[in-house]
């Protein structure tokens, strides 16, 4: 019945909320729910057509209630679609805040999805598949620009820095992935895998968030 497909989308959204990564965009399902809205709207137009704009609900209750059902079903589908897309943009925005490179991200997620499904991974090996819809990729880019503009008003603060209250100015870190050379106030350090450094926390926060460095307690 009408609305059942919408619920499937929302169930996807519910699962997405509990995942660390973003599962593939449900292109077909979104299309089907949108089509349902157009069909319902056409039914409304067809039902009203003979009345030429002079329909009186109290005279034909059966038609009135049918119109009501169609209207509510359209609204329902709209709500399901919006909730689904909103859940995903929330997640995407979080990734942008965390400094994840999204072009990177869509590729990486396809690999992850392939790995978790074993050798039967649908998307593995095909570089052009992304778990983001083209619209979502646009959105991420635009939101990234917006965030950069907002951050630009507060250059000295580094808005995307750590939200843990600072305890120590300097910390011990271990390098998990080669990250090349970084500049600190105390000169340049070359970060090669498995080496350890005693560095100023503010200098390396981004690298910790991105998984290049691990903080040692």
């Amino acid at each position: 019945m009408y609305g059942d497909l919408g619920i499937k989308l929302v169930q996807h959204a519910k699962r997405t909320q509990n995942l660390a990564h973003l599962p593939p965009y449900q292109t077909e399902l979104v299309r089907a729910v949108t089509r349902e809205v157009r069909d319902l709207n056409k039914d409304v137009d067809d039902l009203l057509e003979p009345f030429q704009g002079s329909f009186d609900p109290s005279e034909d209750q059966a038609i009135a209630y049918t119109l009501l059902v169609n209207h509510i079903s359209m609204r329902r589908n709209k709500r399901c679609l919006l909730a689904y897309h909103r859940t995903r943009t929330d997640k995407l925005e979080e990734l942008v805040w965390n400094g994840v490179d999204v072009v990177d991200l869509s590729g990486q997620q396809v690999r992850d999805a392939g790995a978790s499904r074993g050798s039967t991974g649908v998307a593995s090996g095909d570089g052009s598949t992304s778990s983001l819809s083209p619209q979502e990729e646009d959105y991420v880019r635009q939101y990234g620009d917006l965030l950069a503009a907002y951050k630009g008003q507060w250059t000295d603060i580094d808005l995307t820095g750590s939200l843990e209250p600072p305890r120590d100015l300097f910390i011990d870190v271990r390098v998990l992935k080669d990250a090349g050379e970084i500049q600190t106030e105390y000169g340049a350090i070359t970060l090669t895998k498995n080496s350890q450094f005693y560095v100023r926390q503010g200098d390396v926060e981004r690298l910790i968030a991105q998984g290049y460095l691990q903080k040692l307690s």
Binding site: M1, Y2, G3, I7, V10, Q11, A13, K14, Q17, L47, P57, S58, Q61, A62, I63, A64, Y65, T66, L68, V69, I72, S73, R76, R79, C80, L82, A83, R86, T87
Partner: protein, 179 residues
């Protein structure tokens, strides 16, 4: 209630038994017939049933359908809850047990139902809190797992919050000890 809230939307998808009071020939798709006849009984999702029950086309027309309480709020379930709220796995009745119940109480004036549900929530919430603390200290035993499996979504959220709270407090005290 929030428009974008995924749990609210899923709660709204739970089905309620309805009885149509008039013929609606164009709505056959609701029960796969050629047209709905007065007297037809079918289960409709809350979002549709509620609007229907509240709507009436004319000034003094009666609503086109009547609602009854869903099976998760049946006499048997309520009797079991009255006997011992903790013994009923609410999730088997509905993952959105309290959500649905609250919506039904908006439509029905049922004082006794409201009292039973309130007692159920309070008694079970205490247990949820207990388990949240135990889960942090000793891990979950077999019995605890069984109880947690039967939690509805509200209670699950309560459990998660409780668990995070206990964990946060533990981390904090550990930190204070260290420094």
């Amino acid at each position: 209630m929030s428009y974008y809230d995924v749990d609210a939307i899923l709660t709204d998808a739970e089905k309620v038994p309805c009885r149509f009071e008039l013929d609606v020939p164009y709505l056959g798709h609701l029960d796969n017939s050629s047209g709905l006849k007065a007297g037809t009984r079918l289960n409709l999702p809350l979002w549709l049933a509620e609007m229907f029950a509240l709507a009436s086309a004319g000034q003094d027309a009666s609503p086109p359908l009547t609602l009854s309480l869903p099976p998760c709020l049946s006499e048997q379930v309520l009797a079991a809850l009255k006997a011992d709220p903790r013994a009923v796995p609410l999730r088997d009745q509905s993952a959105y047990f309290y959500g649905v119940a609250v919506r039904m109480l908006d439509l029905f004036d049922e004082k006794e139902l409201s009292a039973i549900l309130r007692n159920t929530f309070v008694v079970r919430a205490a247990d949820v809190g207990l388990h949240a603390r135990k889960a942090e200290e000793t891990g979950l035993g077999g019995q605890g797992e069984e109880f947690l499996r039967g939690l509805d979504e509200w209670e699950r959220r309560l459990f998660r919050r409780g668990h995070e709270g206990v964990k946060g407090a533990k981390e904090w005290t550990d930190n204070v000890k260290k420094s």
